[in-house]
């Protein structure tokens, strides 16, 4: 399966959304764009799961939504991080770092004499 754009790794959507929103409040389309851009277009946010995901995060109290006028003078629904969301981002980010380091360490592992 040779595609240059991959779907997100399972379970990472919330982390990436939290990270994107930690930079500045954005509307849904902006969040998708920002993640695409930050991942250098390696990941693509599936539209289908972005909005249900935002709804779930609203219920968890990590983000808030409010209607504002956008740069193009249009009413848009902006999401911003709450204090609970910022804490959640720190927790998830450090969890992710530990997990990825561990996995990397496992992948680097070799037997001493090179034989298997």
């Amino acid at each position: 399966m040779a595609t240059d754009r991959n779907d997100l790794l399972p379970g990472t959507l919330e982390l990436l959304v939290l990270k994107a929103l930690s930079l500045e409040p954005m509307h849904g389309w902006g969040i998708g764009q920002r993640i695409d851009q930050l991942s250098k277009d390696v990941f693509r946010v599936p539209q289908g799961s972005l909005y249900p995901g935002l709804q779930r995060m609203l219920r968890k109290g990590w983000i808030r939504a409010e209607w504002r006028t956008s740069a193009h003078n249009r009413r848009a629904r902006y999401y911003r991080l709450t204090r609970a969301g910022r804490r959640q981002l720190e927790t998830e980010a450090s969890d992710w770092r530990r997990a990825s380091e561990t996995i990397n360490a496992i992948l680097r592992f070799r037997l001493a004499d090179g034989d298997v």
């Binding site: 509307h27 849904g28 389309w29 764009q33 539209q47 289908g48 799961s49 909005y51 249900p52 995901g53 709804q55 779930r56 609203l58 219920r59 968890k60 109290g61 209607w67 249009r74 009413r75 848009a76 629904r77 609970a84």
Partner: protein, 870 residues
């Protein structure tokens, strides 16, 4: 995690649904516009994304529940007949069960209405748990002086006394009590004071405490009552206090007046007849009190051994609640069992109805399935409908329970604590649980049948071939329902059959005398004015003579006990030629003082020896006449005439000689043994009979006889207040309880059998409808129509057989409660059980016959032709 945002979002989703939808629409449109502007191909699946967002709001199940309930209510309104049937069947079932729950709760479980009531005990004289009796003055004094376990201890002596209030002399129930009785119970006076320790010593001025109701009725109100002097049995008593309103019984004894009980120094261990009531000290267990009292029993035994030889008897404390309600547990248990079975039958029946209805609605449900409703969604729809239905039935049930509770007294007037039974909120909780369980049970059958093949709906949903026969699991559900109905109906039938059997036997019991034309007046002489044995004997002699001379009276006599269930006294005796081993209890028998005329008035025949002569009562040689049952018990193969015994445990007294044998008359109830000993009135100079029944046989009817006797007695002593008894009514009243129980259980059984028959009929009709295609094929292939009828009926009989087997096992449990209520028939009576099983089988045949005939009349052309149709 902070739950507030979650709750807020969910509330918004519920109540601001339209706004959220608009916002979602706008947000997604904005997204697509931006995509287009940026040259990205806009995403599709807008509706799907919307659905996912709606799911993420977390209120989807609740929204569906509301929609389903609305839908269910609409559907139920469309089929009024079905709804009414279910609500009535289940509602009454839940109502009856709730009423019984409250009865059990209030009577058997609720704490007695006294402070710290769990510390209250009644003290019995007990040889074995089955053989408990009252205590005596010796016991009372010993407990009072020696016990170390109780905060308070008092005694009660039940009596029926004549009291003269505002309305003249009347006969009321009295409880003579010591001061400790009120102290132990912890009750208070609303006016005045209660009986104090100074009141109950011999010689102290006589005082009485009265119930609030009696003060209002006969003493001019509670305030005016205190200080009044009322004659009780001719002895002046000063009213010192009035109990709180509503205290109509104390320690389970329903007395109107509570005169002081003053205990004289005893001369022997007996007589018994006193109830001991005590309050355990805080921290003292029942076991410690039992040991304490047992030590007292052992200590006092040698002091009185001459008159009381039961070395094993122990004074035994029993929790007061158990003492009061213990005898009623059998009746209430039977009642609860019958009601529970009917409720289960109602549930099984409603499940059947729901199953049949679901199959009738298959088409509608198929359409919904085809339109995209998922399996889970449809299941929920059906469950919601069943739950809505049972919820309505539950509401009806709670209401009918409140009504039914008012009728408990009519069904079971003899229950203890009946006055405390009233609707309570725990009944609502019980009804709610019963409703929920019923709802779930009712939902199971249609649920299973819908999704386990066979139906066209299952085909739509699951893709299985629509023409296949009913699925194995759906079949099993149906079978289980029929089997359950039989299994539940059989114990009801057996119970009703046994009670009816026992009732008919009781009705046929020979009372030993012809009650028509026999009347009795219960007379009680005030001891104050009849203080010498001579005065008492003189009155009785004159009263009997006057009665015998009264116009219309054929014969007249006196007796202490009245058949069939009033043994005035029970006495112990030891036969000289067959003494009981030392240290064991002596024999007991109902012991009635009678005058010679009694046997003639009652029409009790002399079988052997002779009756009393007027000379017998005065002689120094005590004599008795015994009943045939007594003779058969103690002298089975010889004549008892001339045999001798020590009566009342008095071995130093002159022995008593048997001089005659008379016919059997029951005194221990119609179901009891007919053993009895008669002694001449006035034979015991120690213990004069102040209360006797004047029994006459008359040829002029009750009213005229009583009028004539009243005027004759009034001439002798105008203060005596007689109680009139018509013997034929007494006999009928003795059958009252068995008649009521038979009627109640019979009614439940009838309802149960009807429910079962309808349920089985409905179900077999349904089975025939389900299988009509298969049966049509069989007919087309040449099967005889009769064979299809036989097939259906045979299936029904097989179910009935299974059900009966389970039902028999169930009814074995029932016998625990039934046993004590039966007379002359065992709970495992084979004839009754066989009859009940036969009835169940007959019902099975009858209710399968019509569906069977329908099966035989299936027209293959129509059924199979129908395949082309929609």
């Amino acid at each position: 995690m902070n739950p507030i945002p979650d709750i807020m979002e969910r509330l918004k989703a519920l109540f601001l649904r339209d706004r959220l939808e608009r916002e979602l629409e706008e947000e997604l449109r904005h997204h697509r516009e931006l995509d287009e502007a940026a040259g990205i191909s806009p995403f599709g699946r807008v509706e799907e994304i919307k659905e996912e967002v709606r799911d993420a709001r977390g209120v989807r199940p609740l929204e569906e529940l509301i929609a389903d309930t609305r839908y269910a209510l609409r559907a139920l309104r469309r089929s009024v007949g079905f709804t009414l049937t279910v609500v009535a069947t289940l509602g009454l079932g839940i109502g009856a069960a709730t009423a019984v729950f409250i009865v059990v709760n209030r009577i058997l479980l609720a704490e007695l209405p006294y402070p710290d009531a769990e510390r209250l005990v009644r003290i019995y004289q007990q040889s074995t748990p089955a053989n408990r009796g009252t205590i005596s003055v010796v016991d009372i004094l010993a407990i009072r002086d020696q016990q170390r376990s109780f905060d308070a201890f008092g005694a009660l002596r039940p009596a029926s006394v004549s009291v003269t209030g505002a309305g003249g002399p009347e006969r009321v129930v009295a409880g003579r009590v010591t001061a400790g009785f009120f102290r132990a119970l912890g009750v208070r006076a609303s006016h005045g004071r209660l009986i104090e320790p100074t009141d109950d010593s011999p010689g102290a001025p006589r005082v009485v405490v009265v119930s609030h109701a009696f003060a209002e009725r006969a003493l001019g109100g509670a305030t005016a009552a205190v200080g009044k002097v009322v004659p009780i049995e001719g002895v002046s008593h000063t009213v010192v206090g009035v109990l709180e309103p509503g205290r109509n019984d104390l320690a389970g004894f329903p007395a109107v007046v509570w005169p002081v009980l003053q205990l004289a120094t005893p001369g022997r261990r007996g007589p018994f007849g006193y109830r001991g009531i005590a309050r355990l000290k805080a921290g003292v267990t029942l076991a410690q009190a039992t040991r304490d009292l047992a030590e007292i029993s052992v200590r006092i035994f040698p002091l009185w051994a001459a008159g009381f030889q039961d070395r094993k008897a122990r004074l035994t404390p029993v929790p007061l609640l158990e003492a009061i309600v213990g005898p009623a547990t059998g009746q209430i248990g039977l009642f609860a069992g019958a009601v529970g079975l009917v409720l289960l039958l109602a549930i099984a029946n409603v499940a059947t109805l729901a199953l049949v209805r679901t199959s009738a609605r298959e088409h509608e449900l198929s359409v919904r399935a085809a339109l995209g409703a998922g399996r889970r969604r449809l299941a929920w729809l059906i469950v919601t409908e069943c739950l809505t239905l049972t919820a309505i039935a539950g509401a009806v049930g709670v209401t009918s329970a409140a009504v039914a509770l008012k009728g408990v007294g009519g069904v079971a007037p003899g229950l203890p604590r009946l006055r405390e039974v009233a609707f309570e909120t725990s009944g609502v909780a019980f009804a709610a649980i019963a409703t929920l369980v019923a709802g779930v049970l009712v939902s199971v059958a249609p649920f299973v049948s819908l999704f386990t093949g066979g139906s066209s709906l299952a085909a739509t949903l699951g893709g299985s071939p629509a023409r296949a026969g009913p699925g194995r699991r759906a079949n099993a559900t149906r079978g289980a329902l029929v089997v359950a109905e039989f299994a539940l109906a059989l114990p009801l039938l057996i119970g009703a059959g046994l009670l009816l059997n026992s009732f008919l036997r009781l009705q046929r019991v020979d009372p030993g005398f012809d009650p028509s034309g026999v009347y009795s007046l219960a007379l009680s002489l005030p001891s104050a004015r009849y203080s010498t044995p001579a005065a008492v004997q003189g009155f009785w002699r004159r009263a009997e003579a006057r009665a015998a001379e009264t116009d219309g009276v054929i014969a007249a006599g006196l007796a202490g006990s009245l058949p069939p269930d009033n043994f005035g006294d029970v006495n112990n005796f030891d036969l000289l030629d067959k003494p009981v081993p030392a240290g064991t209890a002596q024999h007991l028998a109902p012991w009635s003082p009678v005058s010679p005329g009694f046997f003639a008035a009652m029409g009790i025949p002399l079988l052997d020896g002779r009756l009393f002569t007027p000379g017998d009562s005065a002689t120094a040689r005590p004599v008795v006449v015994v009943s045939r049952a007594w003779a058969a018990t103690y002298y089975p193969n010889e004549s008892p005439i001339g045999k001798q015994m020590y009566s009342g445990g008095c071995t130093t007294c002159q022995p008593t000689t048997v001089i005659g044998v008379v016919g059997d008359v029951p005194y221990r109830g119609l179901a009891g043994e007919a053993d009895a000993v008669y002694a001449p009135v006035g034979a015991d100079s120690q213990d004069v009979d102040l209360s006797l029944n004047l029994v006459v046989r008359s040829r002029i009817g009750a009213a005229a006889t009583f009028r004539a006797l009243r005027s004759a007695l009034g001439a002798l002593d105008p203060q005596v207040a007689p109680v009139e008894v018509v013997m034929s009514e007494r006999l009928r009243a003795a059958l009252g309880d068995p008649r009521r129980w038979t009627a109640v259980v019979g009614a439940f059984a009838a309802a149960g059998v009807l429910l079962a028959a309808l349920g089985i009929f409905g179900l077999m009709s349904y089975v025939v409808r389900q299988r009509q295609r298969e049966m049509g094929v069989r007919l087309a292939l040449g099967a005889a129509p009769g064979s299809l009828t036989r097939l259906v009926v045979g299936r029904g009989l097989r179910y009935a057989g299974f059900g009966s087997a389970i039902g028999l096992a169930l009814s074995a449990l029932e016998s625990r409660w039934l046993g004590t209520l039966l007379y002359g028939v065992r709970a495992a009576d084979p004839a009754t059980i066989a009859l009940a099983v036969a009835v169940v089988m007959a019902i099975a045949v009858l209710s399968c016959w019509i569906p069977g005939l329908k099966a035989a009349r299936i027209k293959p052309v129509e059924v199979l032709g129908g395949e082309r149709g929609p």
